[in-house]
């Protein structure tokens, strides 16, 4: 755990220094210390360009990227734990399709202040989808059977299918804006601001505490509903709270950075190889790994590749083959 935290910090510093303008690590430390402590260290002449690049461009981008990576991984752990399905990910309940639909509408209507309205529309779309899915699968007569994994997944698939058709239709009538929609859907951390960082961090901290609070109950849920219930787990409450937490995390992620696949699906699986299935270890370690992985991908697309490609494409391209390998390996166990 400490190792992973150190790794994340190292990654952040490396990522800060890399890019179009290379900034030496000492300058970064200098800037950060000056900014946080407010006291000027001995050799206090800071390059103004470097200061602007670090504080206004790279740091918010890097922190929101790490935050989204952690949130997606956490959300993936929660969904896999509740739905008891190794293929579950943050988007299983159609949150991504909802967000994409909301964002597409905002882009299509060309709402004046696009930088504010697109994320808000995306978040609203994601929440509406979530409530629709829960409404479809919930039955007051038999609440436990209603929230069963099969019902939830099926409702998610149905709603997502309808929304995907809707998105296709919006693209069809969007004419020249279609490229904006497509680019948004593929995900990017370009031009992230401090408010983005604050949003994701707040949701992340809340999500972390809620899921650690119920981590042991989540372990018991893997014994099956009846056994978990007989061991004192309030299934209805725990399922509901964790589903909502996971979905809100996913919704925030999508509204900040578009749809980034595979982090939420892949990271929990890889971390499970190291920690085993105990959620008390799996949750924090998955969050750290998710942050490192997404930051790694983002740094590559930002600083290493000659031209910035959408991060959603990069994570799916690199994550996809690894997932194929895990799937193949586990299926015959």
């Amino acid at each position: 755990m400490i190792l992973f935290s150190l790794f994340l910090v190292l990654m952040i510093f490396l990522s800060l220094s890399m890019g179009y303008i290379r900034i030496p690590l000492t300058d970064i430390l200098n800037i950060l210390i000056t900014k946080t402590a407010g006291t000027l260290p001995g050799f206090g002449n800071i390059n103004e360009t470097h200061l602007a690049v670090i504080m206004d461009v790279r740091l918010p981008r890097i922190l929101s990227c790490a935050g989204v990576g952690a949130a997606l991984a956490l959300s993936g752990v929660l969904f896999q734990g509740i739905l008891l399905n190794p293929l579950a990910d943050p988007y299983t309940l159609g949150v991504s399709a909802g967000a994409a639909f909301g964002a597409s509408i905002a882009i299509l209507l060309n709402l004046s202040n696009a930088f504010v309205s697109v994320p808000i529309f995306a978040f609203t779309g994601a929440c509406l989808t979530l409530f629709m899915v829960i409404f479809l699968s919930y039955s007051s007569k038999n609440p436990m059977a209603g929230l069963s994994s099969n019902n939830l997944i099926l409702s998610g698939v149905i709603v997502a299918a309808i929304l995907s058709a809707g998105i296709s239709f919006l693209k069809f009538i969007a004419n020249e804006q279609v490229s904006v929609i497509i680019f948004w859907l593929m995900g990017s951390f370009a031009s992230k601001t401090w408010p983005n960082v604050a949003t994701i961090i707040i949701f992340l901290i809340a999500g972390f505490f809620i899921s650690m609070f119920f981590a042991r109950d989540l372990n018991l849920i893997s014994l099956g509903a009846k056994s978990a219930s007989s061991l004192g787990v309030d299934l209805k409450k725990v399922t509901f709270i964790l589903l909502l937490s996971g979905s809100f995390l996913a919704a925030v992620c999508v509204s900040i950075s578009g749809i980034i696949g595979f982090v939420g699906l892949l990271v929990p699986h890889m971390v499970r190889f190291i920690t085993g299935p105990d959620n008390r270890k799996l949750i924090p370690l998955s969050m750290l790994s998710g942050a490192v992985l997404l930051l790694f991908a983002d740094t590559i697309t930002r600083a290493v590749l000659p031209q910035e490609i959408p991060i959603g494409v990069l994570t799916a391209l690199t994550g996809g083959p690894v997932f194929c390998w895990i799937f193949k390996k586990n299926r015959f166990k």
Partner: protein
């Protein structure tokens, strides 16, 4: 300790007619210090009855009480300190170690965010020892055979250390050696620790040999309920299971045994 059920009815469908009821107007009580068996054909409501007693399902009508306190008024955690269940779904979805699974039986006793106490760990180790699964403790639960897994679930339920133990075909995948060993264990806990055990059986001879009383269910209704020697008759078996049988007292097991003659 006494569990009493008054006029319990249950169905998965709210509007079902009397015929659709899985449990119909069930009234009966179970007392500590006895080993009860529930027998009946497939779909007669045996598992549903246990689920109602354990609080997993809520009856459409009627009350279930433990020492005249309705079970729905207990918190989940307190109920888990009273009733443990070995259910038929013993599949575990993630590859937990056997000892982690057994320790999960202590869940109701371990406060949030604290590690299991030395006593919890001691209890878990004892139970693994008694159930003969100590050698499996570091194995992954999903790599074990059905019978081994069932013994793990059994050990977990015993580790929960409750005055009431519900067994839903808990022996279905065990070999005869382990079946007898577990039954012996349960029998001792009933005699020495005054526990209350209700077990669903398909093997009428095991039910007759090991239990103090037998409850016969058919289509959600009680067909017979009483001392094993009184309940098991050729007529009842014919009526409930629709098979011909011969019921005789067997001096080796000191109980009635059922034989199914062939022609």
């Amino acid at each position: 300790m006494k569990i009493s059920l008054h006029n319990i009815s249950f169905s998965y469908d709210d509007n079902s007619s009397d015929d659709g009821m899985i449990i119909k107007n069930f009234t009966g009580s179970f007392c500590s210090g006895s080993f009860y068996s529930v027998i009946g054909p497939n779909g007669s409501g045996k598992t549903t009855l246990l689920d109602l007693i354990s609080g997993f399902l809520k009856p459409l009508s009627g009350d279930i009480e433990i020492d005249s306190t309705p079970i729905l008024s207990f918190s989940k955690k307190n109920l888990a300190k009273l009733i443990s269940i070995v259910s038929q779904d013993y599949a575990v979805n993630f590859p937990f170690c056997v000892k982690d699974i057994i320790l999960m039986g202590r869940h109701p006793y371990i406060p949030r965010f604290s590690p299991p106490s030395a006593e919890d760990i001691q209890k878990a180790e004892n139970m693994m020892d008694i159930c003969g699964i100590s050698h499996l403790q570091d194995r992954k639960i999903n790599e074990l055979s059905g019978g081994e897994r069932q013994r793990c679930v059994f050990a977990r339920a015993l580790c929960q250390d409750t005055p009431i133990l519900l067994l839903d075909e808990a022996f279905s995948n065990m070999d005869i050696h382990h079946t007898l060993q577990m039954l012996q264990l349960v029998k001792y806990s009933v005699k020495d620790n005054n526990k209350l055990v209700i077990s669903v059986f398909h093997d009428l001879n095991l039910a007759s040999t090991w239990s103090d009383a037998i409850l016969v269910l058919k289509k959600g209704e009680i067909r017979a309920f009483g001392r094993s020697s009184d309940v098991l008759t050729e007529e009842t078996i014919k009526e409930v299971f629709e098979v011909n049988s011969i019921v005789e007292y067997n001096e080796h097991v000191h109980a009635k045994q059922v034989y199914y003659p062939t022609h």
